[in-house]
Amino acid sequence: MSLTLPARNASGSSRAHSLLPATMTDQAITGAIADPLLRRGAGRGWWIAFAFALLGAFAMVATMALVFMRGIGVLGNNKNVVWGVPIANYVWWIGIGNAGTLISALLLLTRQDWRASINRFAETMTLFAVAIAGLFPILHLGRPQYFYWLFPYPNSMTLWPQWRSALVWDFWAILSYLLFSIVFWYAGMLPDLATFRDRAESRRAQLVYGALALGWRGSASQWRAHRMFYTTMAALAVPLVCSVHSIVGLDFAASLMPGWQETIFPPYFVVGAMFSGFAMVVILAAALRQGFRYEALLTPRHFEAMAIIILASSLIMTLSYATEWFNGWYSGKSAERGEVAFSFTGTYALLFYAQLLCNCLLPQILWWPTLRRRLIPLVLVSFGVLVGMWLERILIIWNTLSRGYLASARQTFHMTGADWSLLLSPLGLFAFLFLISVRVLPSISMHEVKELRHEEAQS
């Protein structure tokens, strides 16, 4: 599958060219996004994907039930490696979740015109990924039924949460971020829900979308207020996203363990989130493009822009890894140096090399314009990045905890069936939620694409 890019102008920039084909009038944009949902049934491909996703969602529910009923003993966690798959999954999913709002807000503030086609489903991705991420800290608790003790509520024990605990920071960060992202996503979608209300043919759809649109009319005064609110939210979203993933980084960095107690962790985690998030957005964009025939809306330039960001993120990640190794050596501490040496030569060395291959080497093929303009190589690189970033998160845990300060207590982590299920089944749950969402809600922001088309016409 190849994507043909428009010819570049003499200066080498393709910015002078329109992002959208000239045939994309306001009517065509509305039809292209709304009609597959409102006037056509779900195709066979969607139903097949949905069936697999449903199986995955059931598997996730079953695994959670198993962990809740039998306890965390069903996982591979041992007395040294007390964090295993749940925490690696938590960091991975919160990374994916952080990326959606970060991408949307950052691209809005930096006036990236190609944002209009990807921001909505990237934000949708955020909602589901953060919701799934929020399950894992609860799953990793020894007594998950008491997770609400993290909340300061009046209680007969007169106890209060320990505000200096990273678990409490996580609770507030995830909760705030999830609710913030819902508000950002819903406010951005209000005008499109009104379009659905006005275009729907069935009475039921008119009523449902009408209620969700809250009576939006699209008047100039409403647009003015909407823009003011939306840009302010974007300005708030960027520091919020950075703080949320920094807090996840602090879960590790605030400890005293070798390989974790590093000041680079917060920014390095934020870049990692953007890296894996863009990889997920590429995969979702490719799926939507194929499934809903969005070729005119998700153009080669969108994919090329995302490929360049993945490449840049890969370089920053490589630099971060190198900084970690250097700091390990430069600290002069045997535990730190030992942890770095263990990464390269220890029990999990093969996985570590696979991580470096996926995160550092594989994305380098995107230097070649011909490769980053082809969908299949770009999707394969994105899959590689997602795998590599999960390996990074699990190895941060395994390499440090398997080889702590006490030599006599060192233990290797062995994955159990419940661990594998906990690793793979959330993908099914995510796909289940995402597939439903793209069938009932606009996955591309119609009003922003039309505004972009208007601006292109004006210029």
Binding site: W163, S176, P191, R197, D198, F229, I247, K450
Partner: protein
Amino acid sequence: MTRVVIAEFGTAHDQIEALRRLDAEGFEALDAMSPYRVAEVESYLPRPRLTIRPHMALAGFGIAAFAYGLQWFSAAIAYPINSGARPLNSWPVFLLVPFEVGILAAAIAGFVALLVSCGLPRLHHPLFAYPGIERASQDRFFVLIIPPSDAGSRLALERLLFGAAALSLGEAQT
């Protein structure tokens, strides 16, 4: 309820041009409707002061201060624990939660302020009864004008709007 003349246009360019001409001829445009934000029309329309950002700031800083106070009260007064000899009022760490919940509070307050500014939720609006208005959210552009009192001005208004490529003209309640 205000009675308005409502003109329909096929493009944003025609809508802007109509508003420009209305402004030049001294007619009073009340509002405009479009499927996306057309920034250019705003300079020809009334621009009431928006208080979304002050509300966001007030809620954000207020809730952040409350969250800090709650942490301080619980950790230093109600339930003091010596945790690794850290000070009871561990202020650098206590800034994390106020930052998160402060931004959340700003977002929620902003959303409420947005709804109030937009007059939402209002599931039914008299304008929704106007034929063809459903395309205002899809591909058509409308301008709402306060009707002139005398017949001569009314005729001039109609000429002006059709001259600016209006597709249709009518009256509606708002």
